[in-house]
Each structure stands twice: as C-alpha cells, then as structure tokens.
Symmetry: C2
Subunit: 154 residues, 2 copies
C-alpha cells in the first residue's frame, strides 16, 4: 500500500514495538533494562529490537565494555515523538483511571505543559472535519480523488 | 499498565485496527466497503470492528433499509485524528516512495497545508529533548520519578 499510515503501521503497528520505542525515549538502552522495564519475554524483545534496527528506528551501537551493545534512537526513531505524544494524549483523555494520567510532559526549560494538535500553517488548530484529502505526487492511478479533494472525516 | 501509551496500544496497537480507523475517517461506513477498500479477510474485519465498537471508538448504528447497519466514529474515535496525522506525517517523511506522499491534508476552508507538532502551551514547537517527564496524579507508587522529572529522550 502507498498510504503513509499503512507503511508506518507495517513498521511500528505492533503493541510491543511501540512500547520498546517508548522505553527508548525514556532513556532505556540495554537489552536487560528493556526486558525488566517492559516485563517482556526475551525472544519477543529480541525480535522487536531486530525489526527496529532493520527499519532504521534504533541503532545498535558499542557501549562500555567488550561485546556490550546498546540501542539508541536514530533521527528516524526520534521523529516518532509526535506519534507517542498523540497516543499518550488520547490515552490520558479516554483511558486513564480515576486518579488521572500517570505521567505528564513538561517543557524542560520553562516547566510549561506540552500538548499536540493538528494545525493549519498559520497556527489554527483543526479537527478532522476541517480537513480535506487531496492526491499528492506519490498517488497511484488507482487513487482517484475529486479535484477539490474529499473530506477527511467519518 | 497505567501508562496511557500502553493502554492506547492495547486498544488500537494493531495494524488492521488502525487501518479500519483510517478508513472510517475517509468516510467508509459499511462492512462491504471496509472489506473492499482494505482488502481484508471478512473474519479479521469482523473481529476488528467488534473490538472497535466494544472499545467505544466506533458505534454500530442503523442505516437505510431493514437490518442494515453502519459503523461511525464516536467522539472517542474522532479524537484519534492527531494519532493518524502523526503516523501519516512520519510515514510521509521516512517511508514514502520516490514520488513522494500519496495524499496531502489541506484545511478545507483555506486550502492551507496541515501539520502536527508537539508544542509548549505558548505555541513553541518542542522536540523530545526539550521535554521532561513528571509523575501525574495517576502515578503508581512504583513509578518513582525524581522531583524535577526525568528527560523524555533516548
């Protein structure tokens, strides 16, 4: 599929894969630390790390000590930050328990709260009903969209 | 797990589930249309739709004609819009073919391009290195974070 959502999900659309990425954002780097923090079976963790390295999302780099390796987010991996924050914000709103969200994200410099939103290039926040879909340069012949685009809204 | 990312992925962290949601945002409502547009096996589609209805992301509502039903995004489902746009933007940047992204999202009113970013409450765009994590009201006793929080960055 040409759709960028489908291609993205092919790489990261798996529960454990995305939790491994979250863990990497939280600073985890070593196999045993991933295993301990996620409570994940070694064979599943090993497969997910291999996929993430093969996809270019994590890099396996030498660490202190002979034969020690750690996993670090690449630029492609760090660019998943908005996806994680969007997932977190949705979970905070719809799935948090009675006590509210377990963690909050704050700007490191000012302590101000952090949020994510879809915006127009002039800064206005948009909902799905405000957006239309038009064919891009990479559209297949099969993807025929009306000249004015179609609404992106169920 | 209390983490909102983990809870979100438990509901939608499956390739087909998120593609069904994408399809619903594109205006698809009927079982046979989901099946045709996604090229998905009926039993898999049926299971994913059931899960999405049980989770509150889709509603199964009466449509024209006896015994006809269609699936519509609920408010909880529409609130997944930023997650989809974040996935799409990442896929556009890292996974699009040589021709570029297949579709573009434009503001319906002005035609201006649409994008998503993590921002501070005063509007400044933030990367993962700019953000720190602090415990929220719903933090478990096991989630011990230093008073100043920890950096959200690998």
């Amino acid at each position: 599929m040409r759709c960028s959502i489908a291609r993205a999900l092919e790489l990261i659309g798996d529960w454990w894969t995305m939790l491994v990425v979250r863990e990497a954002f939280m600073g985890t780097r070593r196999f045993d630390a991933f295993q301990r923090n996620l409570g994940i079976a070694p064979n599943i963790l090993s497969a997910r790390l291999k996929t993430l390295v093969a996809s270019g999302i994590l890099a396996r780099v030498p660490a202190g000590g002979p034969r020690r390796r750690e996993y670090r987010l690449t630029e492609m991996g760090r660019d998943l930050f908005p996806v994680l924050v969007a997932l977190m914000q949705w979970g905070d709103r719809w799935l948090a328990g009675p006590d509210g969200p377990p963690i909050r994200l704050l700007d490191r410099a000012t302590g101000m709260p952090v949020a994510i939103a879809v915006r127009r290039s002039d800064g206005a926040i948009l909902g799905s009903a405000d957006v239309r879909v038009v064919g891009g340069r990479g559209a297949s012949a099969a993807l025929r969209l009306p000249l004015g685009g179609v609404p992106f809204d169920g």
